[in-house]
Symmetry: C2
Subunit: 491 residues, 2 copies
């Protein structure tokens, strides 16, 4: 713990890996591209899950569970879906191992070959819409509002912990509706749920918008997204909500009879966020001393570190600490009193700093004599002596303030990293010097987008909702454009 | 809903499937052996998960997540483990599909063959102990108390919804300890957690005991289990807790330095329950009218059905129902007020009966005039007129009473189905006529157990803790035995 971190500005990528390792969040497994999410990292993910799950239920959704495996033929049924997902995936071809006759160990039993290969789900539209066909006959069966918490697998060549792994955890909502407009309302509603979660809980400002055709989900008519900006000025797509039109209903022949007795295909949405949010959380707030967590997603919100020499000191401190923790408990604040006598206070200070615990209370005999405690906040590293009688009010207020400060700080950084440009030269110059989001006019064609991507690595993150519509000329082709779109290099 | 169920005594197996279908709990998917858990079934599973997860955390465990895939070579490292698990499993051999050159569709890309095949986890001891090797150096790193909620795959030839499916959901605890006795204490502690959960929440009486060698988990030194009895007098293993000794530590070379500086292998446990518990819950309580749920695991504990002809009636009923639901809400009781005007009250009565909702309140204009409501309990189907002023006390008491009654009823059935026998002839006679648990002396050898199994299909469910030690003679071989063991035909 005493070792210094690489600083963000020296090697951002190494810094990111170091934070994850030192805060004990996750690690690479021996299985290529798959990670182990360690207890402290998983505890943060569980808090994210709990909030999201509650919001999904409040917006009328139920959880369910569909098979891990998808028959190969299902993937081919939706033409664009197969291009997006069927290529890099884990393929189950056999269902038995046996001992080799030469004693060399376990081998795949060639007699146990599946008639049709099974794909480990990269996403579940196909298997779910295959079920929905049997569930939907009439408008009375609609809407279906289902969410699934699951693991999915996409065979990634380059992986990074949380940001891009072969297996990851996520939720995927899959809804079915009687009308186009109802499905669009659902798509937008879930985008709002994601944006509110990102801003209110993760303290991470996001832009809402629509993807260009190039970046659209394979099988969607329209992909809505939230986009955040990391401290290295690269963008990160934090959540997507897809209006699928009737594409999957047509692919899986899911029709319903409407109130007038007419048959039509069902309208669909799907929407998801994943353990990628952990990467976004880490990169939005953490600093050169380690992880920084917003209080609303911190497994431990307050840690109390006793500073003592004698057993007598410790007993006196414990008594005061008990009063404090009783107060915290009554207010629903999570805490830890760390009286491990194998570790020195300095070691503990560094440990909880690296783990991003929002508030640290240090308590020594002199503090108790003065009826006060030293309270340190992780976000600004400021310390303050606080009267013990005031702690009951001070701590809850401080947690609210930290949550707000983290959001404000991230928003300031993000807002300062948005640049309007009016020429391609300027675009490249800003991208290479300052980075961040670039607002520029674009002629709306995939060709121009591809050219910019090949040329600069920047992609269109979204056609943002938050900026005024404005006439202009495409920075590459000079063709007319009726809005600026948001470009950035992205994770 | 109007269709009559098959009765349990006519065709128990069909009855079981009918309950699941009619209560809308789950269904078979098109993927062989894999089920879809539908929202109402998943809501019950979520309640089970929540209680268990809280109990795991209260007993000091944290959740984490390990990879879905296990390299083939890992399975071979623990000799008996491989025999138990490596055979019938899903094998991933390739990581890419491509379009066939003849345009016939998607095919497995032969160039994307994995160097080493990956197995979809049937259980995670191997992948987890491979990680623990890097996590454990000293006694200070112990104990490790980790649980994982996950999906697992075992390629089953004959599947039944919830009871035996190729993919199922479960939790698996994996703990590491410095001493043998600490690991045994952990194994027993988690067995107690399972037994308490089964009895207090599922209202399902269980016997705790130890498995015979034949039925032991592949890789364990000792398997502890809880065994329940279903209404068809067949036993069901509801949870297992394994003392793994140093087997996996040796297989994966996981050593630690103890306080004296001496190196030793780490001691291990693992323990799990799965969606199989859903099958146990259904078969313990349900009746010829459908599902019966214990109140503590019912997604809807109380349903209110309005009985009305005019809109005016409905408004008056709604007013009274609001008062009732406010009371229920304040007491943390879940409820539904079903004012769907597309369905008749009779249809709703049948629907909530089949879904096992513990308490139904029917409210009509005459009831309101008399300041009363008709309250029906699902377990006994008794109805009672209750004064509206008393509902606040009546309903919570009734829920407690139903929970208790279901347990007592199941326990009475179970206890009446235990028979002591003293000869093999008697054993067979009881097994075929009465079924249930049979307490008999056994000489302790796998050979005798195999013979009985081949002969009668009955297996030793456990060496139970709940019966006195007693000297006797094996019913088959006449050799001395120092305890009766519990036999039954089992799921």
């Amino acid at each position: 713990m005493a070792l210094k971190f690489v600083k963000r500005e020296e090697d951002y990528s190494k810094w990111y890996n170091d934070v994850i390792a030192r805060a004990d969040l996750a690690e690479h497994s021996d299985v290529r591209g798959c990670m182990v999410i360690k207890p402290y990292g998983y505890a943060i993910w569980e808090m994210m899950k709990d909030v999201l799950d509650r919001r999904f239920k409040e917006t009328g959704h139920s959880n369910a569970y569909f098979p891990l495996f998808i028959p190969k033929s299902y993937l081919s049924k939706e033409a664009s879906h197969v291009d997006g997902f069927a290529k890099e995936c884990a393929v189950v071809t056999h269902y038995r191992l046996k001992n080799a006759e030469d004693g060399s160990g376990l081998i795949v039993d060639p007699e146990a070959k599946l008639e049709e290969e099974l794909i480990v789900r990269p996403t579940s539209e196909t298997i779910i819409w295959n079920s929905y066909r049997n569930w939907i006959q009439s408008y009375r069966d609609l809407p279906i509002l289902i969410n699934q918490w699951a693991n999915v697998v996409r065979w990634e060549m380059r992986t990074r912990l949380f940001l891009r792994t072969t297996e990851f955890l996520w939720q995927e909502g899959h809804t079915a509706h009687a009308t186009r407009s109802e499905a669009i309302i659902e798509t937008e509603k879930m985008l709002d749920v994601y944006a509110e979660f990102a801003e209110e809980y993760m303290a991470m400002p996001v832009f809402k918008g629509i993807k260009s055709a190039n970046e659209r989900f394979a099988g969607a008519e329209e992909t809505y997204c939230i986009e955040a900006l990391m401290q290295d000025k690269k963008a990160l797509q934090a959540g997507t909500s897809h209006f699928l039109g009737q594409n999957f209903a047509k692919a899986f022949d899911v029709k319903f009879t409407d109130k007038e007795g007419k048959q039509d295909f069902v309208w669909a949405t799907s929407w998801g966020v994943s353990t990628r949010l952990m990467g976004a959380l880490i990169m939005t707030h953490s600093d050169d001393e380690g992880l920084v967590l917003p209080p609303l997603l911190a497994p431990i919100q307050v840690v109390i570190v006793p500073i003592y020499k004698s057993e007598e000191d410790l007993n006196a401190i414990r008594e005061v600490a008990n009063k404090i923790t009783n107060t915290l408990k009554s207010k629903g604040i999570s805490f830890k009193f760390d009286d491990d006598d194998q570790k020195r206070p300095g070691w503990k200070f560094a440990e909880y700093e690296v783990k991003g615990v929002p508030v640290r209370i240090a308590l020594g005999p002199r503090d108790i004599a003065n009826n006060q405690a030293e309270i340190a906040r992780r976000d600004t590293k400021e310390k303050q002596m606080v009267d013990l009688d005031n702690i009951e009010i001070y701590i809850p207020n401080l947690l609210v303030e930290i949550q707000q400060n983290l959001f404000n700080r991230a928003k300031k950084m993000r807002d300062e990293s948005i640049t309007e440009v009016n020429s391609y030269a300027e675009f490249k110059e800003v991208l290479n010097s300052k980075g961040g989001f670039i607002l520029a006019h674009w002629d709306g064609t995939p060709e121009t987008e591809d050219l910019i991507k090949t040329d600069t690595q920047a992609t269109i993150r979204c056609l943002p909702f938050d900026f005024p519509i404005e006439q202009g000329l495409c920075i590459v082709t000079g063709k007319p454009s009726n809005r600026r779109v948001l470009f950035a290099k992205a994770y």
